[in-house]
């Protein structure tokens, strides 16, 4: 039996003001594509997770610092509490601004030829922004996708981007507050609880996906959220308890 709990408070930001923030961003932006994106946002804080349209998003990057590293690929899959729709899944390889570091090449399985032939991120915004519009992006570790996209747009459009996300890793962290054993506990053999995507999935009997790419990780993230909601929160949880 699942334990239903309130998710509220697992993040550190005030969580009720996203509609206001999105509508003021819509007024302030000078880019028509961003305006359309912000205006499409019509989700109220009381919308239940059962009703809310979501999109799982995963980036592969050349490193962890958005100011030093670049986006290499983007995977997206729209989904709801009930269904993850692969027919509408998208995957792009984009050309990074900074030279692709040799070690990253093997990690991402993306070759130099892929990169050379890839479009610049600016060229796919016409497809990327509409795919996100009107949905809550869901990520595993919110310090990557939103900041990287923000920095990338600042470079290209002279203004950044903001939007609420649901962070499946933050949910796992919230569920396992004592995941790092104390030195005393370590002495007695207690292992830390991993909240990485693959390890978190195992706790919900989700399958192991051997491949490593932005799309399969986005799908994996969407599945993880479906499992988390069922096990811990329930379909009538208001979105304000989950978005960050």
């Amino acid at each position: 039996m699942s334990t239903r709990r309130r998710a509220s408070g697992y993040g550190h930001r005030p969580t009720g003001d996203w509609p206001d923030r999105m509508s003021s961003l819509a007024r302030e932006t000078s880019d028509p594509r961003l305006r359309t994106f912000y205006e499409a946002f019509s989700i109220t804080p009381d919308t239940t997770v059962e009703e809310v349209p979501m999109v799982a998003m995963d980036f592969e990057t050349t490193g962890l610092d958005p100011n030093q590293h670049s986006i290499v690929s983007i995977g997206l899959v729209p989904f709801t509490f009930r269904r993850i729709r692969l027919a509408e899944a998208r995957h792009w390889v984009v050309r990074p601004q900074l030279p692709l570091h040799q070690t990253s090449v093997t990690i991402h399985g993306i070759t130099h030829t892929d990169i050379q032939e890839a479009p610049d991120l600016g060229d796919i915004l016409d497809e990327l922004l509409p795919a996100l519009a009107g949905r809550i992006p869901v990520v595993h570790y919110r310090a990557i996708e939103r900041p990287f996209l923000d920095v990338a747009l600042r470079w290209r459009l002279k203004e950044g981007i903001d939007f609420p996300v649901i962070d499946t890793m933050a949910i796992e962290a919230h569920l396992h507050p004592d995941r790092n054993p104390t030195r005393w506990q370590r002495l007695w053999g207690k292992k830390p609880v991993s909240i990485r995507l693959a390890d978190s999935r195992l706790r919900y009997n989700l399958p192991h996906y051997p491949g490593h790419n932005a799309l399969i990780d986005a799908i994996g993230t969407a599945e993880l959220l479906q499992a988390q909601i069922r096990h811990h929160f329930g379909p009538d949880t208001p979105i304000r308890d989950l978005w960050l």
């Binding site: 699942s2 995977g75 989904f79 009930r82 269904r83 993850i84 729709r85 692969l86 027919a87 899944a89 998208r90 995957h91 919900y204 009997n205 989700l206 399958p207 996906y209 051997p210 491949g211 790419n213 932005a214 799309l215 399969i216 799908i219 969407a222 599945e223 479906q226 499992a227 069922r230 096990h231």
Partner: protein, 623 residues
């Protein structure tokens, strides 16, 4: 499909029916999937609900129910459900619940429809009900073996060589030499009856009966011919001819059509079809001069078993061959025993019981036997002889690999070494005053066959059973209740089997949980319809002529029996090939996905048949 979805596609490709689809079709499936997660205990499909997707279990497990709420099936990773509803108005037919946390890949109806229309392998797979799928599996493994399909008529290469039964020995030998045949059919009659077969004489008869006994060459052949003819029809299968020879230890079978001989099938003809034949082992057994020789041969039995399995023989062939071999060991031991102890003081019949009597013997087997003595038997005077003989046979069988019966159902037990009248009283009491406990122990006597001596005693007992049993509802109800004691496993997964109480087991006994429950329930129906057959397949044929079982019940049971038995047989053969001691304990993970999936179907059939048995004979299980 996005190339990045390869993980999803690869998983599909490892499971039927997707494994047989071309790459483009698979790409289309993978690219159209919708994914849904269900928590253990959550409903996936509800009865009557609209369902527009084929459900594929990516991880976890699900249970399907009948309309009545009864469990219909349990499915695991890589298995599909919802197809029946999709084919029939897109209404949910079997509601489904997640047994554990489960991830489902949903394949939308238009894609399902497209696969169904354009790929026969897919259509065949989803269209057939589980039971007919089982039948396909059974048929496919049969096709390989020639003797399963070839008719006896194909073995007849010449007109039969016949002579009137009045010819003398010398004349008979001359005809056989001239025609270069090893047997001569003896005919008599006139008018319409002209050419009716009355006997056969073989090379062996001439050697053992005529020459060895120095009979005058003027002796009429009728004096030494075998009058109890074992014959076969031209449209019988070659393997049936083999069974006849094995069962009766004869090397020539006259082929009879409309009462007239059409030819003769000899052992050597069949060997061409059945290379490495178990018939060799049988004839070899009959040539051994002592127990030591018999013991030496027992290893050949295992080889012969393995060869038959590798040649894709069916369970009926293998079971009959092994029973034929067991019977031959018993017969030869009785001959040797009589040589040692002298001729029996009164006539007797040696009975085989259980699997040997049913022609369903395998490698791992106990000896179950008994003796029926002539009614003139006087214990004080004669029993010392029969005890000694029974002990000689029983010890000899143990030497040859047939373990002593742990329940002491052997002719060495005085209770099971009795005159015919006592045996008749035993059966009358079992049938007229049935007691569940007592019947449990005597179950095995209801599969009986005479292997040596006065086989008419065995026939008399079969007659009595067939007549009395069908009229005793209490007996049948009791027997049916006992037949429900052993049940097949309910669920069947890659790593374990699921028991009715939800417990998981790593191994299960394929005899106790598989073949035994089937033969038990077939026995009840067979006795109820007055069948005198002992073999389960023969019994099913008799049952099929009545209305005892619902339509298709007979065919489904036959297929289930065959499939479970053949898996058990292969399991034993594999163990022996690996140099391990064969047994009946199977781990699901050692089975191929094909075997697992069809075993599950077969267990479903058995489970249904048990439910029907309970209802039909009003056999409530005591709680």
């Amino acid at each position: 499909m996005q190339a990045e979805l390869i993980d999803i596609r690869n998983h599909l490709q490892q499971h039927a029916p997707f494994d047989e689809l071309p790459d483009e079709a698979l790409d289309r499936v993978a690219g159209s999937i919708e994914i849904a997660y269900f928590q253990g205990g959550e409903k996936i499909l509800e009865l009557g609900q609209k369902n527009t997707d084929l459900h594929y279990i990516r991880s976890g497990a699900a249970e399907l129910y009948r309309r009545s709420g009864e469990l219909y099936n349990r499915l695991g990773e890589g298995e599909i459900f919802g197809q029946i509803g999709l084919l029939m108005g897109r209404q949910v037919r079997f509601p489904a619940t997640a047994l554990e946390d489960t991830l489902i890949y949903l394949i939308p109806y238009p894609v399902f429809q497209d696969l169904f229309d354009n790929h026969d392998v897919f259509a065949d797979f989803v269209e057939v009900e589980d039971k007919s799928r089982l039948r396909q599996a059974v048929t496919r493994s049969d096709q390989v073996n020639d003797s399963m399909t070839a008719k006896v008529s194909r073995l007849i290469s010449r007109q039969p060589v016949t002579a009137p039964s009045t010819v003398r020995l010398q004349e008979a030998a001359r005809i056989m030499t001239e025609n270069r045949v090893s047997s001569l059919l003896l005919v008599e009659g006139s008018g319409d009856d002209e050419g009716n077969l009355v006997g056969i004489i073989t090379d062996r008869d001439l050697r053992t009966r005529a020459v060895a006994d120095a009979l005058p060459s003027e002796t009429p052949v009728a004096d030494i011919m075998s009058p109890d003819l074992i014959t076969i029809r031209p449209d019988a299968l070659v393997f049936e001819a083999m069974l006849q020879m094995l069962h009766n230890n004869v090397h020539h079978l006259p082929v009879i059509e409309k009462g007239k001989p059409r030819g003769v099938v000899a052992l050597s003809d069949i060997v061409k079809y059945e290379s490495q034949n178990s018939l060799y082992v049988v004839s070899n057994i009959h040539r051994q001069p002592d127990v030591k020789g018999l013991k030496a041969i027992s290893q050949e039995v295992r080889n012969s078993f393995i060869r038959m399995v590798n040649e894709d023989a069916n369970s009926h062939m293998i079971g009959s061959a092994m029973a034929g071999i067991g019977r031959s060991f018993t017969q030869r031991l009785l001959e040797l025993g009589e040589e040692k102890l002298g001729p029996p003081p009164v006539p007797y019949c040696f009975l085989a019981l259980g699997s040997m009597a049913r022609d369903e013997q395998l490698i791992v087997t106990d000896q179950d036997n008994a003796m029926v003595l002539d009614d003139s038997f006087d214990p004080a005077e004669h029993d010392a002889y029969f005890l000694a003989l029974a002990k000689f046979v029983s010890d000899g069988l143990a030497e040859c690999g047939y373990a002593y019966c742990t329940g002491d159902i052997m002719a060495t037990n005085p209770k099971w070494r009795q005159p015919l009248k006592v045996w008749k009283d035993y059966f009358t009491d079992w049938i007229d005053n049935p007691k569940a406990e007592a019947l449990l122990n005597s179950n095995i006597f209801f599969d009986l066959d005479g292997v040596y001596g006065e086989e008419r005693y065995a026939e008399a007992l079969k007659e009595l059973i067939a007549e009395k049993a069908q009229n005793s509802q209490r007996f049948l109800a009791m027997l049916a209740r006992n037949a429900l004691n052993r049940t097949p496993p309910l669920g069947f997964f890659r790593q374990f089997v699921m028991e009715e109480d939800g417990k998981q087991q790593k191994t299960f006994n394929l005899k106790r949980r598989g073949t035994a429950p089937v033969s038990d329930l077939i026995r009840v129906h067979a006795l109820a319809c007055g069948s005198r057959a002992q073999n389960s397949f023969d019994r099913l044929r008799d049952i099929g002529k009545t209305r005892l079982l619902p339509e298709d019940g007979v065919g489904n049971l036959r297929d289930a029996m065959e499939f479970i038995a053949i898996v058990r047989i292969r399991h034993q053969a594999l163990a022996m090939e690996d140099g391990r001691e064969p047994d009946n304990n199977v781990r699901p993970e050692d089975l191929s996905p094909f075997e697992r999936s069809h075993l599950k179907d077969a267990f479903q059939v058995v489970s249904q048949a048990q439910k029907f048995l309970r209802y039909r004979y009003n056999a409530q299980i005591p709680r």
